[in-house]
Assembly symmetry: C2
Homo-oligomer: 498 residues x 2
């Protein structure tokens, strides 16, 4: 090993250990920790985040990074680690440590407050916390902004490097222009799709059993992973041999089944990261958009595909006999693809999904760039739902309180969901040329598709960014038209439109 | 606040944060982490334990501790923290950091290896790991031993300060002399106690439901605590607002019910620690013996007391109708108190329990002081069971592989179980003079008993050691005769002996 990098290595390991500890606390907080623990536990998290801050923002570490940056003898993997550490240093150098720790303490409590507010359907209960979170996020972005850079652009780059407001404005403009009319066409269509049977009283244990089956079926490895429950399903990982997904059980079979496949997709990405990258700063998915591309690929392009269900539908039918005994494969597949404006993003069909994201994108811009007040948020939220989806939330929990993200300070994350969907559609178009995609699914060979994704995407971790991964895989730069074409084709067929 | 202590405070907080992080990893490892995670996670734990080591064994911290030690203006709580930190410094100063970290890494994997070996009933699979663990423990003790101090004495003092081999030899000699003959008398008695109905096929969900009920009934607060499952039930806590117990479900109702009450007893101790002590080095139970005194007090003195079941037996009976419909209260209470030599410590009745501990005490002494080889352990174990309890294990999992402790390096822990039982009996004898103990139980007022224990024991954390607590509560020094009398009285009555 290169001598300078060898000196840096224990520092990198220390940074990763502290980061991993914070990830475990976060996991614990969202899945298990007792209700009243958060205040005292946030003291611990504040201190650990301060340790992390110091470990990154350390004079000696800076010197080593500088020395490594000029050193051509480093391997590609070493260079990537130095690059990521340098980025993190640049970020933290702008933020006062005290404020950074305070923010970590705040978010250790804020998700709990959000959760309680959501349960109580009471926005006022969450508003002061949200205001604080936004305050920190705006200050941090202002500290970090270079040469007149916009605050929201700083945030966006954390989740999807290379995509700024200019690009996203154009992307979402395309979505608005193409998908709002398509949804209107669908709604005007005479085709009626039944999906009433997806709602009912399903036992938690049966949902869990089938959830585990589906996760395993698409390739989630339970010897290196676990599944728990949480208010808002998510995926995290300590390394590539410890990947954790959560689910939630409810009276909506669609939400229950596809949420698991979605999180399993995230998990499979993390399992796929190479052993020489895990436990390093490049040992995780390339970006949030690329991560969502994989989770949504598994959920939608694989999971809502008729061919996927051919080998396994009987099993699902037997698991939920009351709901599905009289429902054939096609009725089931049509139901899980039905397009219908709804209030909840995570339960949205593929067509309306991006409109939910569009709304959040516009609101985040307003909150961060136009100083919209938190007080005005519920009404603004409802107005946009009415404008783009034609429906208006009656409650806060079906409205502005539905998502966890803002409580964690994750402003700039939402656009990755739509970008990820678009990445996935582009990958799908390419993969169909390389393999008999639907044929493999019908034969139950999800592993072949998963292997392709591992080979082209997952294994690299953060060695390549999302655009590079797309380009190296599909031989093309990012092109959102694949996404529009995918949705048009799918929904025109489903609703017998011209 | 005193200025010197104020300078020490952030160092203490940092030490506690690192310790808390390690506790969370340990909890996670034993309750949830995926099977293949341990190797990579142990890297993280190795680093965190190194950070902890450095945080304690730091030149500036040492100076501050020294300055505080001479300072009479410190409060009692501050002094106690300085005392505990100084003890920890003394301990770590003797151990090379590299070895300390290696050991932490080892134990992060070794419990998993123990668990797999136990499941496979294969001692060979665990033996090399156990050998390594013992090697570290002996080296560490040798580093720390002062003026010809014995290694096993060093270990004992970690769990029960003030109790060394000399004292424990005498204690266990009394136990052997008094209880082995008592057990023989019981076995010779004509009284037959039925307990067959306690074994059967009980659903996990029903066991969980009743477990939660019992935990709550004795005072475990689920708003500040959680219950999970693990191979070996245990209790841990992050602070007094986050206390965690585990249980295991099985075909033995006795084990299922009383394991929960036992762990709830540990948990109640931690809930009871004062708010100004939690998240400090004195914010946990006084010693392992005092901890076990509380858990075994709840399990046995409260839980196996006929009066305890008077208000709630009907509920238990309804929960397990197949087993208990025809079983009256007295039959049930007699069954859960039946004395019978068995192979498993955690399922032992109160009379044979200390003999299980005696065996472990003698084996630990042999392993540590007489260099008995790990290879000889299974036979030595079986021989002692035959000698003291008249039965011989046929399998490793019912023999030497049954307990988790040695896999964690906890040599010197076992005696605390017997000591704790003896502390508890002494407390009980005193409390009966102060309150109508059985009357309170019959009225369902466990809270009154719990409050007494909180006031006299729990609230102090480590401010007082176990002997001081006993003395301040009962006005007497530790006296094992209370324990012998308690058992004699109880079992002579139950078995109609002279």
């Amino acid at each position: 090993m290169n001598e300078t990098f060898e000196a840096l290595k224990p520092r990198l390991d220390r940074i990763m250990a502290l980061k991993t500890a914070m990830i475990l606390f976060e996991w614990d907080n969202e899945t298990l920790a007792p209700q009243k623990a958060a205040r005292l536990t946030s003291n611990v998290i504040g201190i650990l985040s301060g340790e992390y801050f110091q470990a990154v923002d350390d004079g000696q570490v800076r010197e080593l990074v500088k020395a490594c940056q000029g050193d051509q003898s480093l391997t590609e993997v070493e260079k990537a680690q130095v690059r990521e550490l340098s980025k993190e240093q640049e970020k933290l150098a702008c933020i006062p440590r005290e404020e950074y720790q305070d923010f970590a303490r705040l978010t250790a409590e804020s998700t709990r407050i959000w959760q309680e507010a959501k349960e109580a359907d009471d926005f006022e209960r969450f508003a002061p916390t949200l205001e604080k979170v936004i305050g920190y996020q705006k200050r941090f972005a202002a500290y970090r902004a270079k040469d007149g850079e916009k605050k929201y652009d700083v945030m966006l780059a954390d989740y999807e490097p290379g995509f700024d407001m200019e690009l996203l404005d154009a992307f979402f403009a395309t979505i608005k222009k193409e998908l709002v009319p398509l949804l209107k066409e669908v709604q005007a269509s005479k085709v009626l799709i039944r999906d009433d049977f997806l709602r009912g009283d399903f036992s938690d244990s049966q949902q869990e059993k089938i959830g585990r089956f589906l996760a395993e079926y698409v390739g989630f490895d339970f010897s290196k992973g676990v599944m728990a429950t949480s208010a808002h399903p998510f995926t995290t990982n300590l390394h590539n041999h410890d990947v954790r997904i959560t689910t939630h059980y409810n009276d909506n079979l669609d939400s229950s089944l596809f949420s698991v496949i979605h999180e399993a997709g995230h998990g499979i990405y993390e399992f796929g990261v190479r052993d020489d990258l895990t436990q390093t700063l490049v040992g995780e998915g390339a970006s949030m958009g690329m991560h969502e591309s994989q989770s949504r690929f598994f959920e939608n392009i694989i999971g809502r595909n008729r061919s996927f269900w051919v080998p396994i539908y009987e099993k699902i039918r037997e698991a939920f006999p009351q709901a599905l005994t009289d429902i054939g494969l096609d009725m089931f597949v049509n139901a899980v693809n039905k397009a219908e404006p709804g209030l909840i993003r995570t339960e949205a069909d593929e067509l309306t999904y991006s409109l939910h994201v569009l709304i959040r994108y516009e609101l985040e811009k307003a909150l961060i760039e136009e100083d919209m007040s938190v007080e005005d948020l519920p009404k603004a939220w409802a107005d946009k739902y009415e404008a783009y989806l034609g429906i208006r939330p009656e409650t806060m929990k079906e409205g502005v309180l539905q998502d966890i993200h803002w409580s964690q300070g994750s402003f700039g994350y939402f656009p990755s969901y739509a970008l990820g969907s678009a990445f996935g559609a582009q990958l799908y178009a390419h993969m169909k040329k390389e393999m008999d995609f639907e044929g493999l699914l019908e034969e139950g060979k999800v592993d072949r598709i998963r292997e392709y994704l591992r080979e082209h995407i997952h294994q690299y971790g953060k060695l390549k960014d999302s655009r590079q991964l797309l380009k190296d895989t599909t031989n093309e730069d990012f092109d959102p038209q694949y996404y529009i074409r995918y949705l048009k084709e799918k929904y025109k067929k489903l609703y017998h439109l011209g």
